[in-house]
């Protein structure tokens, strides 16, 4: 049935978007960069690479040198640990924070937005009130407050980022549901006896799924950058919880005057391509799904 319908219509939103994405060299390249980072982070998480990042392999704060193998290329930190291995572990932490905070914020955003937009009335009023309330507290102070309430560390940071960042997505989803709920296909589903839940998730949701995907990609940009700032403020990754770019950059605040620049340089060089790739890929997704908005 569905197959026939798509055949009659010619191209679906998804195949059109995919074609546009594949035509866009920058989008393909960004996606490959993201895949490469995911592979590296995955290998690091399964202890297949950068496994000995906590071991001292030489004199404290040795400068980068090309001899002595890849582990010495980026120099050593104050404990004689390989900055190269720490940077790789940092990639794992960055993607972990992005993934976990997305997995918290996106379901909340989708559910809240869908319920508010679909039901309207007092449900809409209530949900709008909740998210307006959250968005009226300056974000950094809300993050601090949540971190105080739940204790510090990587898990709290992910929860705090997740709990504060669903509002934007909820607004977009709500607006889309308001548009879609009165369309004929929803009325047809109702006539066929589809329940509210079925109309929301089975019928309308696939039509707004692209917004969720764009939001998912964007979350990573925000999460990776937030990890660095929050860790510097003492609310993110705690020492001993693993290696992170935020920790490396925060360490540099004290080390730079001693001329120790390699920790900062490695973290920055590692962070730049992945944040850029996620930003460009988010823009490309937006353009691919809605060419009218192309700016």
């Amino acid at each position: 049935m569905r197959y026939l319908a798509s055949k009659v219509r010619g191209n679906s939103l998804w195949s059109d978007a995919l074609r546009r994405l594949l035509d866009d060299n920058l989008a393909v390249f960004s996606f490959l960069v993201i895949v490469a980072y995911v592979v590296v982070a995955g290998l690091a998480s399964f202890h297949l690479i950068a496994t000995h990042w906590q071991d001292s392999i030489g004199a404290s704060q040795s400068a980068p040198q090309l001899s002595g193998g890849i582990n010495h290329w980026m120099g050593l930190d104050i404990f004689g640990r390989s900055v190269f291995q720490k940077t790789i572990q940092g990639a794992y932490t960055a993607l972990y924070v992005g993934l976990v905070s997305s997995l918290i914020s996106i379901p909340i955003g989708v559910l809240m937005g869908a319920l508010a937009g679909y039901f309207g009335g007092w449900v809409d009023d209530l949900i709008t009130w909740i998210y307006t309330t959250i968005s009226n507290i300056p974000e950094i102070l809300l993050l601090v407050s949540i971190a105080f309430a739940l204790g510090k560390g990587i898990e709290t940071m992910c929860i705090a980022l997740g709990m504060t960042s669903w509002v934007g997505l909820a607004r977009l989803i709500r607006a889309e549901f308001i548009k879609h709920k009165n369309r004929e296909y929803v009325a047809a589903a109702q006539a066929l006896g589809a329940s509210n839940a079925r109309r929301i998730f089975k019928h309308i949701f696939p039509n707004v799924l692209h917004i969720v995907i764009i939001g998912f990609s964007l979350r990573f940009v925000v999460a990776i950058k937030s990890e660095v700032v929050l860790t510097y403020l003492g609310l993110g990754i705690e020492i001993g919880e693993g290696s992170s770019w935020g920790l490396m950059i925060s360490d540099a605040a004290g080390e730079l005057v001693q001329g120790i620049w390699w920790g900062l340089a490695s973290a920055t060089l590692a962070m730049f391509p992945i944040v850029l790739a996620f930003s460009l890929f988010t823009d490309a997704l937006r353009d691919a799904f809605d060419p009218k908005l192309r700016t």
């Binding site: 959250i134 507290i137 300056p138 102070l141 407050s145 309430a149 770019w245 005057v257 850029l276």
Partner: protein, 311 residues
């Protein structure tokens, strides 16, 4: 219009109640017993009981919440755990310092980004536009901390063009310390703001009224500055008003790196000391400021844009 303003102002009340209640929950319940946190690990049951009474925690929750609302209305948040100073005084002092740091920087970065935004929007699709946007996206992919660290290290420490950090209270003396933070602010703000203004101008440039103006034979300068700019001013103006509360809160990172005693630096210190009443008070103050400026921005929007429906 008057009825709209009243209605919109009344709508701020549930929002204010919601935000204060959320913070109340976070600090008094989710975060565990505040008396235990304040008393520390080695306190006797007696000390804890005394602290609990002093903080009013032996009262039922609605009295505690009522106390919070009273604090907000009276603008009295007690004393800091770390310094024992009155928080209200700390906030009043820091707010002025922060504002004198952030406001000139904000005016500078906004006017610069606006001009750049118009420029690249007009040049849409050319290599200038693509190049500038690419640079902006790239610049935003580097952590804010890296800009501050590099700026402080090279421009102040290595080249000695600016003081490394510090502050003097005199209005004129402080400017020499503010120069480098301003420069870094400009660097940080231009990329995202230019992109924001570019989008706003692009939205306007392809409207029907621009085509009409063109077909009437108006020259592009008149169209741009008389027609497009006026319409674009509406979202720009409201965006500027909403930014104001953040100027009072200051810049956490710049103030902490450059040793400037504004509210931003205060927040960073309070985080380090786990000075909960200070963070709590600043969050409440920041939120109230944001709600109020949001209200002003909405009213302004209705005043300048006749298309807004006052329902």
């Amino acid at each position: 219009m008057f009825a709209y303003i009243i209605r919109r102002a009344l709508y701020a009340i549930p929002i204010m109640l919601g935000t204060t209640f959320l913070l109340f929950l976070l600090y008094n319940f989710v975060g565990g017993d505040p008396a235990l946190v304040k008393a520390g690990k080695h306190a006797t049951a007696e000390t804890i009981a005394t602290i609990r009474m002093e903080m009013g925690l032996d009262q039922p929750w609605y009295w505690q919440y009522w106390d919070l609302l009273k604090q907000v209305v009276q603008f009295d948040f007690g004393r800091s755990w770390a310094t024992n100073l009155k928080i209200t005084d700390m906030v009043a002092e820091g707010a002025g310092t922060s504002f004198s740091l952030t406001f000139p920087a904000f005016v500078l970065s906004t006017s610069f980004s606006l001009l750049l935004g118009i420029f690249v929007a007009v040049k849409r699709g050319t290599w200038i536009d693509k190049g500038m946007v690419t640079i902006a996206v790239g610049a935003q992919s580097i952590s804010v901390l890296v800009y501050i660290l590099a700026g402080q290290y090279f421009l102040a420490y290595k080249f000695g063009w600016f003081p490394i950090s510090g502050y003097e209270p005199g209005l004129l003396e402080r400017w020499s310390y503010f120069a480098l933070p301003w420069l870094i602010w400009l660097f940080l703000a231009v990329a995202p703001e230019m992109r924001f203004y570019r989008t706003i101008f692009l939205d306007e440039l392809y409207q029907d009224y621009v085509r009409t103006a063109k077909s009437k034979g108006l020259d592009s300068k008149t169209i741009l500055f008389k027609h497009v700019l006026r319409n674009a001013l509406i979202p720009i103006l409201t965006n500027l008003v909403i930014s104001l509360p953040f100027l009072i809160l200051g810049s956490l990172l710049l103030e902490s790196f450059f040793g400037i005693p504004g509210l931003g630096g205060l927040i960073v210190k309070a985080i380090g000391n786990e000075d909960r009443p200070v963070i709590y008070a600043l969050t409440v103050v920041g939120t109230i400021a944001y709600v109020i400026f949001n209200l002003i921005s909405d009213i302004l929007y209705a005043v300048v844009d006749p298309r807004v429906q006052l329902k």
